[in-house]
């Protein structure tokens, strides 16, 4: 009897996360899902470096016999990588930096300051969050056309200055949530010392908001980097396009060539190479910041 219960304890455990059986199941599940997440990336990389004989050989699936850089070089050329990369990097960095500043200011106001019609504006914030961009896209195009900003970056960058832009409302909500979980004592002490709201915000609040800043910066950067909808709507005629738009142009071009009789034998490796080139910078960025990011998510109280 004693042995049996010892065995049971060992297998099932006293707590949910202690038993051996549970552990095995946990790892099985996590490894499975991790595999699902990693597989396309691995596929992308291996397909990209396969040469012609590897691609035709049905025995070669995951491990190519050699590394061939031709497809990647082709993708670099077709995407006009150096230029598009510069465009993507500057647009994403600028909008992420600006959104961190403008959204944190608005979020701080919603969390701690008093102003007229506060409830109404908060409802407006929630409304902005749930509204699909398609509802306002056409008038926005007309508005920016009127201003002469079509085919420039201004339609993407100017709204971020005001705490709007891509997912701006979500970032304001994250900052509001973060600031309202902070203790009030520091601000009150600073206020008694005679500091104004601006001073308190920049000297006291922002320096202790690293975790929220990291989370918002990364989200904003990644989403701006990946977004193809707004650039394709506002910059359809521009020659300097971000990588995300470059990818859809590349796809269209490849499809057209395939229809005309196929100049290229292999479309897949080029597409994979292009995809890889687009997410590579994000992977590098994530590799460097993931520690702060994970920690930041836990601390921000990203949520109510």
């Amino acid at each position: 009897m004693g042995k049996l219960s010892w065995l049971k304890n060992k297998l099932i455990g006293r707590e949910a996360d202690k038993g051996l059986l549970f552990r095995a199941l946990l790892y099985l599940l996590l490894v499975d899902v991790a595999f699902i997440y990693l597989k396309p990336v691995i596929y992308m990389i291996t397909t990209m470096v396969k040469d012609a004989s590897d691609l035709l050989d049905p025995a070669v699936i995951w491990v190519p016999t050699g590394i061939y850089g031709g497809h990647l070089a082709e993708a670099v050329k077709m995407l006009d990588y150096a230029k598009s990369f510069g465009v993507s990097l500057s647009v994403s960095t600028l909008s992420a930096v600006i959104q961190v500043i403008s959204c944190s200011i608005a979020g701080y106001a919603f969390a701690r300051l008093d102003f007229p019609l506060k409830k109404l504006w908060f409802a407006a914030l929630l409304f902005t969050f749930i509204m699909p961009a398609q509802v306002t896209i056409l008038p926005s195009i007309l508005l920016f056309k009127e201003l002469g900003w079509i085919n420039t970056f201004w339609p993407i960058l100017v709204p971020t200055l005001f705490g709007h832009g891509l997912k701006g409302a979500l970032f304001v909500l994250i900052f509001r949530q973060f600031f309202s979980t902070l203790p009030k004592e520091m601000e009150e002490a600073a206020r008694i010392d005679g500091a104004g709201a601006l001073r308190i915000f920049f000297k006291v609040m922002l320096p202790i908001s690293r975790s929220a800043i990291v989370v918002v910066f990364l989200f904003s950067f990644v989403w701006a980097w990946n977004d193809a909808y707004f650039p394709s709507m506002y910059m359809f005629g521009a020659s300097d396009v971000p990588l995300s738009v470059g990818l859809s142009k590349l796809n269209a071009q490849l499809a057209m060539e395939a229809q005309e009789g196929g100049l290229r034998a292999f479309l897949e490796p080029i597409k994979m190479g292009a995809s890889f080139l687009i997410i590579l910078p994000l992977l590098v960025l994530y590799a460097f910041t993931q520690r702060w990011f994970v920690e930041g998510v836990e601390r921000t109280g990203l949520v109510e």
């Binding site: 996590l30 899902v33 008093d114 509204m131 699909p132 961009a133 056409l138 508005l143 989403w223």
Partner: protein
């Protein structure tokens, strides 16, 4: 959304002349902080919103001299809702049904993963890094490439011929969308990046001492989950439902989004508005369910 703004109590502003000025000053400071956002809201949200509502009732012609509009009443709305079914019903309804199936799957899956990732086990840090990958990819066109690769499907489902089974047991109008969701099940996992993050952050808000107490009282893991973890996660589940609705409905792969074009401003605007009202409807349903769940939980909570 329970946190209320801190308001000056009744009378703080009135007591003395000297007292009044700091309160007024604070209001001024607050207004200064919120002003850019409000200006942005009026220019980039409220104005386009009103204008698109206006356009949905008008025929819009863009000419060299400017924008010409002529009133057509509810013609476009009638056209979309009653006359031309192809624009709305053929694309939107299968999508809505898919969304209805996908939302619970995404929520349950991400809750499960978040709870698992919250446990202490060897290699947790590495798994977390991997599980946040969807946040990086899933927002862009890369996901389209993955679908094209056939990464969305699970081979086990094709080998079991799930489609045929579904078609036998479900009405045809539902078998298609559900079959699609199952067929692209992996894709559902790809949509769950941010949701896992939200649940992970939410799980941190339940204090470990509650679990400690439950353990001392001899509660088994099963009832601990149902009695402590799940009720504590209800607000986050709700938040995630809202987030998932918003995210799914504004996703680039969404069929309706491609339909809103500059070809016919009036018709597109009407379509966008109908779509928006549907989004609001979904959110209202989620809110109603949340209110009901909350009410049934509250007597036990406090």
């Amino acid at each position: 959304m329970s946190l209320l703004p801190l308001k000056p109590g009744p009378g703080t502003g009135k007591r003395l002349g000297r007292r009044k000025s700091p309160a007024a000053r604070r209001k001024l400071e607050g207004s200064l902080f919120i002003a850019p956002w409000v200006i942005g809201f009026l220019t980039f949200v409220a104005f386009p919103l009103a204008y698109s509502l206006y356009m949905s009732f008008h025929q819009v012609r863009i000419t060299v001299t400017g924008v010409n509009t002529s009133y057509v009443g509810t013609q476009y709305f009638r056209e979309i809702l009653f006359a031309d079914g192809g624009l709305l019903y053929d694309d939107l309804f299968p999508f809505l049904k898919e969304a209805l199936v996908m939302i619970p799957i995404i929520i349950v899956f991400s809750l499960m993963i978040a709870i698992l990732l919250n446990l202490k086990f060897w290699g947790r840090a590495a798994f977390r890094v991997i599980f946040f990958l969807p946040v990086i990819f899933a927002s862009g066109q890369i996901i389209g490439e993955f679908i094209a690769q056939g990464e969305g499907s699970l081979s086990i489902i094709t080998s079991l011929q799930m489609d045929a089974v579904l078609a036998n047991y479900l009405p045809p109008s539902w078998a298609g969308p559900i079959g699609n969701v199952i067929g692209s099940f992996v894709l559902v996992l790809w949509y769950s990046g941010v949701q896992i993050l939200i649940f992970l952050a939410g799980r941190q808000t339940i204090s470990p001492s509650v679990y400690e107490a439950a353990r001392i009282d001899g509660a088994d893991p099963w009832s601990t989950f149902w009695k402590i973890t799940l009720p504590g996660m209800v607000p986050f589940i709700f938040l995630n439902v809202i987030y998932t609705i918003v995210d799914l409905f504004t996703y680039p792969t969404n069929p309706i989004i491609g339909k809103v074009t500059t070809e016919n401003y009036g018709l597109s605007s009407a379509l966008a508005w109908i779509y928006f009202i549907l989004v609001l409807l979904f959110i209202a349903i989620a809110l109603a369910i949340y209110a009901r769940v909350n009410r049934s939980l509250s007597p036990r909570k406090q």
